[in-house]
Amino acid sequence: MSGSSKIHLPGWAPLIVLLAIAGMVALVVLPLAMVFIQALGNGVDGFLEPFSEPDTWSAIKLTLIVAGISVPLNAVFGLAAAWAVTRFQFAGKSLLMALIDLPFSISPVISGLVWVLLFGAQGFFGPALDAMGVKIIFTVTGLVLATVLITLPFVARELIPLMQEQGADEEAAAMTLGAGGWTTFFRVTLPNVKWALLYGVLLCNARAMGEFGAVSVVSGHIRGLTNTLPLHVEILYNEYDFVGAFAVATLLAGLGLLTLLAKSFLEWRFAGEIAATRRH
């Protein structure tokens, strides 16, 4: 791709590259570096301090629980939706695909708000559920619902273009040779899409663990009970415990970096086995 007839803009190359690097450093790299710089502002002891508090550990546990429930649910949904959309023809398919993408265009705060409107103290079903002793808002259930709504499209939109591209020939062949439906799915389909599935799960998980706006609306910020890691960062920050907030934030920044690393690895190593749109 370095043919002599490519556009060169003689003399401009260093300027454009420098501008790109300067812009990325100021806007993207600096914030990431800042998290670690601020976290170590009081030395290693200051950095470790929030990790000696039980509230931090319950936030870590809650974040793992919420992601651990939400991600598998949306993975199953993504597989089912991709199977329906790519293996069959039916009326309203593009409407269905638009609906799957819809959560991406909704504000996180609205994704939390809708659950309060349904299940909050003055929500449509709130009083009835309250009478039965069921609580959803300000509980883990509410956190999971908000997270599931926010992360619903991730797995489906990785699988749909890939399964579209692969077509149904291999599955049809397996069925003709006498394999059952589930056997075909587990022995043919799943192995064919496993890297794309992992890619989608990775992005879904990063968003599920890092989500702030939607869970903030339904959480009630009860320390030790409904406080996820991002919400814990906010609480510490608002209490002017900046070092503590940034120390806890390094966990989330680390999660983001790990996700990027794994994502780049998948794009490089399994380019042919993830959706065409992801191959740069």
């Binding site: 556009i7 454009i16 690097i21 329906a84 504000s107 906010e234």
Partner: protein, 283 residues
């Protein structure tokens, strides 16, 4: 493919593969429970205030100011993303330099970094005592705790959308331009203005649309840097949170519904513009 082929293909797919009803049942149930029913609640709830009450909520001066800030800052940020995103995509696609792959990978960082983390980090940088904030304060520009801070956070959030939209198209244009250049001998500048820009404009617009949509609703990265002064630096999503805290469900729903309707209308216009540009650039 002839019509007969299509029909045969359809029959074969539908005839051989099982699981249509099961996969459709899971898909539709999940979409209904998680997306459709909750959004229906959002669409219904405001109207208990009456048409009149919804109108009064949305024209309240604090709400109008918040809408103006959310949509205005999102538009400015999306425009900034268009410029910076094009420069970054151009550098990554066109040039070979040390650290190019790292730069490429870092483009996705705003996607991967949780918004609350980005929010406090940006605040630390642009606060009056932060490294860049102090520099800018020195020349009299206030960034954190002002609308400019909101724009900075939204530009951060939206950048990957533009880069990732432009990148593949730019790579594609490269090959086509290579062919054309061989036969025509146009100058670099002519080729950029006449060939490359028209070809990537729809992609830029698509990226800008995504960045704008994300920015309008963004919450976590903004609330720390904004300062949240009513009428000045208070974004619309924060107003929803405030109304909910006052148990004003209908008011919160009205603001949310208003946001959704306006941003879908803007996205529709952008989409039409993009379709028109694509058609035009193909002649």
């Amino acid at each position: 493919m002839t019509l007969a082929n299509v029909r045969a293909g359809r029959r074969r797919q539908a005839g051989v593969l099982p699981g249509f009803r099961l996969s459709m049942a899971i898909t539709l149930t999940w979409l209904s429970v998680i997306v459709l029913i909750p959004l229906a609640a959002l669409a219904i709830r405001p109207w208990e205030l009456g048409l009149d009450g919804v109108w009064r909520t949305l024209t309240d001066e604090r709400v109008v100011a918040a809408f103006r800030l959310s949509f205005g800052a999102a538009a400015v940020a999306a425009a900034a993303d268009a410029v910076l995103g094009l420069i970054v995509a151009w550098a990554i696609v066109r040039y070979r330099f040390p650290g190019r792959r790292l730069l490429d990978a870092l483009v996705d960082l705003p996607f991967a970094l949780p918004t609350a983390v980005a929010g406090i980090a940006l605040t630390a940088i642009y606060a009056p005592d932060g490294p860049l904030g102090a520099l800018l304060a020195h020349v009299g520009v206030k960034t954190a705790y002002s609308p400019l801070g909101v724009v900075i956070a939204l530009t951060f959030i939206g950048l990957p959308f533009v880069v990732r939209a432009v990148q593949p198209v730019l790579e594609e244009v490269d090959r086509e331009v290579e062919e054309a250049a061989r036969t025509l001998g146009a100058s670099d500048y002519q080729r950029i203005v006449r060939v490359v820009l028209p070809a990537i404009l729809p992609a830029i617009l698509a990226g800008v649309g995504l960045a704008f949509a994300r920015a309008v609703g963004e919450y976590g990265s903004v609330i720390f840097i904004a300062g949240n002064l009513p009428m000045v630096s208070e974004i619309a999503p924060l107003l929803i949170v405030i109304k909910l805290e006052q148990y004003n469900y209908a008011g919160a729903a009205a603001v949310g519904l208003g946001m959704l309707v306006i941003s879908f209308a803007i996205l529709l216009v952008l989409n039409l513009l993009q379709t028109w540009l694509t058609r035009r650039s193909r002649g």
